[in-house]
Amino acid sequence: MNAIELKNVSFGYDGTPVLSDVSLEIPQGAFAGLIGPNGGGKSTLLKLVLGLLEPDSGSVELFGKPVSRSRGLAGYVPQFANFRKDFPISALDCVALGGKGSLFILPGERKRRLKEAAELLEAFDLSGIADRQISALSGGQLQRVLIARALMGSPKILLMDEPTANVDSHAEHCLFEILRELNKKLTIVLVSHDVGFISEYVSTVFCLNRRLVAHPTSAAEGELLHELYGDQMRRILHDGGHHHHGEEA
């Protein structure tokens, strides 16, 4: 079964097309990267998969079910900017907010969620900061807290938006180790404009620029990148020190 399956999906904002006839299959257990230039439709595709948007045409399925009936199967790790950082909340409580949505949480359920959250923090070596306020965490810590939150309720797929946007290169390396471990149990999809990071680590790369092209990692180079990003990309490849060969990762 496919973890994610898009069939002929088109979507536009007020008549401006963002995605045109995109079909995509990500098999269960994959470690996939979705890359593309800004404005290429990455975030839109992510929102469609998360059920935040409905496609104009075509269908979006998670594990063989329409998105509206598969809530809780996908854990989502946002970029940091999406929530109130000055909110009075501890790391532990933030993690406990993840999982299945619920209007009422009875004390017994609350206790169970806090226990699960504490176990997740421990698994990420974050027990020491469980009581710390969200606003006092470093970028790397906050990201691991958000990954822990996305893993509440044991989802079958983990979706990450721009995983390298707010962390330094050391945290980036730690992040990859964590993700590789997690990938033994669940499907992972990273969405990024950072071609270097993505293609070093993932097994499949999907390149999105309104339309979609899928490639194994080794092919996500040269002509294809040029086609997607134009000269700007070639300059980054030549000058920026990013490498895309598996053996150097």
């Binding site: 809780g72 109130r84 009075p88 619920s102 306020q133």
Partner: protein
């Protein structure tokens, strides 16, 4: 001091006013904390001023000012909530429009009320000591209902305030919850108008919550502290005003303001004791 206690024992209306003021402050601490973390203080201000239109219309047609205020406040809050949800309309503009149009409608209606001249300052500055017992009871029931809803739906309200996107992804009815919170806010505003008047609603809604925010590590902790700070300011302010023959609403607000600025100063002087 003993004089105040004797007055409390003697005058039922003073006891009722004290009880009503404290109950309102408790609800205000809970809903006000949500309003402060969501930065909705000015929404409350707009709603408060819109309610003057309802008060004026109610008095003009011989209805109770409390129901007029409630209807206008809820309608104004839902209108603002709907505009925000739809996007497009600038929320700032919408609040300003509601604020001044409500006020204007109220002034025009009140000028047309026949029989006796209505003094708008009762609504502008509030006077809980002059409110009839039955209206105080009605406000108490509104308070209790708003408090019950806020406690029952604490989890989704908290999640929506912290991370609305996650709430949407989890499939929570975010739009309905937003409109419900706006309704609660409107009801609390109406209750607050009786205590401090509509000009100072924002202060009692936000100052105790903002004070509590500085010493709280969780939303629930913030709500409890805000309720405590608000109740204390209301009770002390009311009794001092009674004792010294001062306007009650303004005295309460001066106390709440003093506590807030005191807390800010305290944290400035001893930064490491404040929690961040």
């Amino acid at each position: 001091m003993s004089g105040i206690l004797a007055d409390l024992a003697q005058h039922g209306f003073l006891r009722n006013a004290l009880l009503g003021g404290i109950l309102t402050s408790v609800v205000c601490g809970v809903v006000g904390s949500l309003a402060v973390v969501r930065k909705m203080g000015y929404v409350a201000g707009g709603v408060a001023h819109a309610s003057l239109g309802g008060i004026g219309a109610a008095l003009l047609f011989g209805a109770s000012s409390l129901w007029g205020a409630s209807a206008a406040a809820v309608a104004g809050a839902l209108l603002l909530g709907w505009m925000t949800l739809r996007g497009g309309e600038n929320e700032d503009t919408a609040i300003s429009a509601l604020w001044s149009v409500g006020m204007a409608a109220g002034v025009v209606c009140l000028s047309r009320v026949e029989g006796y001249a209505v003094d708008p300052s009762t609504f502008l500055f509030g006077n809980i000591l002059l409110i009839p017992a039955d209206e105080l009871l009605a406000a108490g029931i509104i308070d209790a209902a708003a408090l019950a809803v806020a406690i029952l739906l604490y989890h989704p309200f908290k999640l929506c305030a912290f991370d609305e996107e996650l709430a949407r992804i989890q499939g929570l009815p975010v739009a309905a919850l937003h409109l419900l919170l706006m309704t609660l806010l409107a009801l609390v505003v109406v209750a607050l108008i009786q205590v401090v008047g509509l000009l100072m609603v924002i202060a009692l809604l936000t100052l105790p919550a903002a004070t509590a925010r500085r010493f709280s590590r969780s939303l629930s902790g913030m709500m409890v502290r805000a309720a405590a700070v608000g109740s204390a300011c209301t009770a002390v302010g009311l009794l001092v005003a009674w004792d010294r023959n001062l306007p009650a609403g303004a005295t309460i607000i001066l106390l709440a303001g003093g506590v807030y600025f005191g807390a800010v100063l305290l944290q400035r002087l001893r930064p490491h004791r404040g929690e961040r």
